[in-house]
Amino acid sequence: MAEIAKVKFAWRIMDLVVGGVFIYAGVVKALQPVRFASDIDNYKILPWTTSVGLAFYLPWLEILCGLALILRRLYLGGLSILTALVLIFSGVTIAAKVRGLDITCGCFGHASQNWSFSGHLALDLVILAALLALYFKVTSENRLQNAV
């Protein structure tokens, strides 16, 4: 029984850490939307107008999804959106590298300005692994409950 409690506690900690990371990332960007718009624009994928729109929208989406993980409300929705965001972000980071763009990712505002490409990618993969682990854990729990 104590073992189960420990495992549950460990998963809860993971919720808090992953949720906290996205809340932090969202707040940092929400405080400097103009700078974040420039960071998105640097990827040279979207027109400036779209970059500005996303710069106002994405940080709040990250914050709300992070809160969803921490508060366990709209949990699966939050996990799905964050997983999609990390996948998209990893994809565009790799694409930017392939195209030889000299970019700052802007993922954590000024703090991430000097991160290397491999640093970005490693962090993305760690977050993605954590999100997928949480996703499979919650979906398997739901399946078990439905079976019972």
């Binding site: 103009v34 420039s38 624009d41 729109g53 106002f56 970019i103």
Partner: protein, 137 residues
């Protein structure tokens, strides 16, 4: 799926609110007004009346830079700004560059020079160092 849509819709509210709050601080048309950009040819035409500011990291500046350029990057902003201000004079135009068209550092340094140092006549070099190199060939 429904949960994701609810979250996506909820995020619109603060996003729209913030966009309204920042409506005067950001242009939806262009990242930098055309009046604040300058080409290599234009900047060269200003000749002795220009201070070149290199916003790239120190390593890149040490490797090579525009002749007489002053290093001023965000990593060592507090340390380098006084050095830059010592070379600055009101009649000179400031042209900031970073490594290429896609880099962000020159825009940020130019923005901070206008905002924090209250300088006028601060321009961003189109194409950055890459463009300068092409024009040198």
């Amino acid at each position: 799926m429904r949960q994701a849509l609810v979250l996506a819709a909820l995020a619109l509210l603060p996003g729209i609110g913030q966009a309204i709050y920042f409506r005067d601080k950001v242009s939806w048309q262009s990242p930098i007004p055309a009046s604040e950009m300058v080409t290599v040819a234009q900047a060269r035409a200003w000749d002795g009346n220009v201070i070149w500011v290199d916003a790239r990291p120190d390593v890149e500046f040490e490797r090579d830079h525009v002749p007489d350029a002053v290093p001023l990057n965000e990593d060592r902003w507090n340390e380098l700004l006084p050095q830059f201000l010592a070379t600055w004079s009101p009649e000179k135009r400031v042209v900031v560059y970073c490594s290429s068209q896609s880099c962000n550092a020159s825009r940020e340094v130019a923005r901070r020079l206008r905002g924090e140092a209250q300088l006028k006549d601060v321009f961003v070099l189109q194409g950055g160092w890459e463009e300068w190199l092409k024009s040198r060939k």
